[in-house]
């Protein structure tokens, strides 16, 4: 895997992940050795990790500076385990169903109080049909193609007050907060 590293496709790079590589970078041809974490397909930057006594250090070599990449060896099982734990994959599991349901309705009520159109769709919440909130319904669990709506919903979730235990929708008397943001845009002054 010597020449043409930059021109080989993402499939080759994915195969080399977790292997030990030597990267030559820059005009001074500095050499960096480490376990390959990932290669960014957008900027061709190479992320390497090396383990020391007090933990791991990551070096990212920018794509434009990479001169040469050479694969050295496969990782042993211990290193493979450490590499896997460095960049954890997204959590798919979650809290138990009862807790999840409570959180989901709590988040749904908060969004509805703030005049955000939201519906429950199985385990997910759908906002205005363009944004999805997965379990466990934190700001980081929102996904949408619309950046503006994503930003507003995430902000709302961040300021959500802690849910009152066994709150009954009928007995809730708190009105929508004064500062409720409007999805249509900011309220002009004087209104």
């Amino acid at each position: 895997m010597q020449c043409g590293w930059l021109h080989s496709g993402p499939q080759l790079w994915l195969r080399c992940v977790h292997r030990q590589v030597r990267v030559t970078a820059g005009k001074q041809r500095e050499e960096h050795r480490g376990w390959l974490l990932t290669v960014d397909p957008v900027s061709h930057s190479v992320a390497l990790v090396s383990f020391g006594e007090d933990g791991a250090s990551v070096r990212v070599v920018l794509g434009h500076a990479v001169e040469h990449v050479e694969v050295l060896q496969e990782p042993d099982p211990d290193t493979e385990e450490r590499l896997r734990s460095l960049l954890p994959p997204p959590e798919t599991g979650g809290p138990d169903p009862g807790e999840r349901r409570r959180r989901r309705s709590g988040v749904r009520r908060w969004l509805q109080q703030n005049r955000v159109p939201v519906e429950e769709d199985g385990n997910e919440l759908r906002v205005a049909r363009v944004l999805t909130i997965r379990a466990p319904y934190r700001p980081d669990d929102c996904s949408s193609a619309n950046q503006i709506i994503l930003d507003r919903v995430q902000r709302l979730l961040r300021v959500q007050p802690d849910p009152v235990p066994d709150s009954d929708p009928v007995l809730e008397t708190s009105p929508a907060p004064e500062t409720a943001p409007d999805l249509d845009g900011p309220i002009p002054p004087g209104h």
Binding site: P10, W13, T38, P41, A65
Partner: protein, 128 residues
């Protein structure tokens, strides 16, 4: 920890819309291509294309998690001419063309906020 010193403001750089920084200029396209195109083999075969796209998204996600792990941490930038500077990482833009950092320790003082061009950087390191 060095105390922040007032840094001389260098003259304003070239206007981003003038010749040379025009996104449609050949220089910009040559230096700052946003992404690698699909390979020729993948273009003809939809199955291969799907595999390639999957590989791309996995690699990109790992890279983004790497960047996330770096936010608000001390990062050492290794730049051209053996210049090494330290800063607190803020964010990167989508094409990894610029990095926003705080508390940049430069040879002439500490800059509270700064934007570093990725072309000036050879590599950067941080401790996990």
């Amino acid at each position: 920890m060095a105390t922040p010193v007032p840094v001389l403001r260098l003259p304003k750089g070239p206007d981003p819309n003038s010749r040379g920084f025009d996104p449609n200029s050949p220089r910009y396209i040559a230096l700052c291509r946003t992404s690698i195109p699909t390979s020729a083999a993948a273009e003809s075969d939809p199955q291969q294309l799907q595999e390639e796209q999957h590989a791309r998204s996995v690699l990109r996600e790992r890279f983004l998690r790497c960047l996330l792990a770096m936010s608000n941490k001390k990062v050492r930038f290794h730049m051209h001419e053996k210049v090494n500077i330290e800063a607190t990482f803020g964010a990167s833009d989508i094409d990894v063309l610029n990095f926003q950092v705080s508390d940049l320790h430069t040879p002439i003082g500490v800059q509270k906020e700064a934007l570093i061009r990725s072309q000036d950087v050879i590599s950067f390191t941080f401790d996990v």
